[in-house]
Point group: C2
Amino acid sequence: MSAVNVTDTREADDVVTSATDAAVNTISNAVSSAAQSYHHGDLRTALLNAAAKRLSEHGVDSLSLRKLAEDAGVSRTAPYHHFKDKSALLSAIAAKGFSDWHSTAKRIFEQEDKTPSARFREFVCEYVGYAAANPEMYELMFGRTIWQNNAATGDLKDVAFPCFQFQVTMTKFWQNKGLLPDNQDALRLAQVTWGTLHGIARLLIDGIYADSSHIQEMCDCAADLFMQASNKV
Amino acid sequence: MSAVNVTDTREADDVVTSATDAAVNTISNAVSSAAQSYHHGDLRTALLNAAAKRLSEHGVDSLSLRKLAEDAGVSRTAPYHHFKDKSALLSAIAAKGFSDWHSTAKRIFEQEDKTPSARFREFVCEYVGYAAANPEMYELMFGRTIWQNNAATGDLKDVAFPCFQFQVTMTKFWQNKGLLPDNQDALRLAQVTWGTLHGIARLLIDGIYADSSHIQEMCDCAADLFMQASNKV
DNA sequence: ACTTTATCTTGACACCGTCAACATAGCCTT
DNA sequence: AAGGCTATGTTGACGGTGTCAAGATAAAGT
């Protein structure tokens, strides 16, 4: 009865292919661990992958748990065994984004062969460029969807805060190198410089009074502005 | 049959108060023009008022057409006779926000009795202060909800663009007064300075690595930064 | 072998935006 | 004044959403 029941519930409308599917499963199980038996095998990552795909292709707004479940070939409520709710799933995606960005930032910052000034300029461009190139991911990472009401998961904070903190570290370095004014508190200055990049990114992403064809000019202008401010009178 | 039908559909469960309601209507009609007859009288503004209230109290996310309709004492689909869709209603609210902000900005900018420097500093504080004091309205005005996919109404653009343009006008003025570096293109500089304010505002509103207790310090830091940049070497 | 536990399933509920079809009432024309 | 036009209201219905509850299944531990 049990075997019949499985076929009934999952493939009642397609008995022919079920045998084939089973065979494929055996192979793909060994290779990619993507099972199609009653228990999925690695639904969590399957959901995250599907979400990342949908996110970049159709935007954060059209991300529904039900669609993701369908993508993963699983019933609507299955995701709830891996994520507390939708917000938790979004947080998990954003966490990966922060992790990636943190690496990128570090890589740029630690290029010993380039002058601090060049690295600073590159960082500005890369930041805005990343946002413009991955608008939906940026929106998710730095948008209210996740952060409002302190809805962020503990896991997310664990990844995001070091990322924020790094901004302060870099700011201090640039202050020491004379690229940024050292008559300002490092934390405030970090908030303001980051705010500038964040603001430009958001204006670009949301299409408010800024066009992607002007990214380079805007970044240059911002970098000039900051570095000019450090040239004492 | 018609009178009976009205009572049936609208107050079938409360025949007792219907007479009282009618009496009240006669009065309130003369005074506040808020009718409760079959035709509401001024549903459009009633909806906008209800929306503004809900917006500030419960946030943009919990704004549903159905709730607004209920607030206005009207059926779910009635709003569709006044707004094409939900987005149009949100645009209308945002339009009022832009109109208000534009006035505020002008008022600050045109204070002849204060020095340009003082006005600049005040503008920075007022901008961020407005955002922090009206987070939901700010989110609506400058958030992706309205602007993404070029979904903004023509009416909205008509109000918002002059508001954006004013930012450039002010920037030029401050450049002329030597408060902002004049070796930068006014449009770019306006985008960057505005971006800074926008970014700070968003970080504050979304609660990302910035706390409302530091608003003043952050504004001062930003203003210092910009004005320092104009002091040539 | 038995039980526990993790995982997945269907069913159900309360929302939501929106369309279609119909009802009402105020206004305009004749 | 009578009759129709149009603006504005109404209910009904559809497909979509997140989420809970209760039951089915399989794997893992005893």
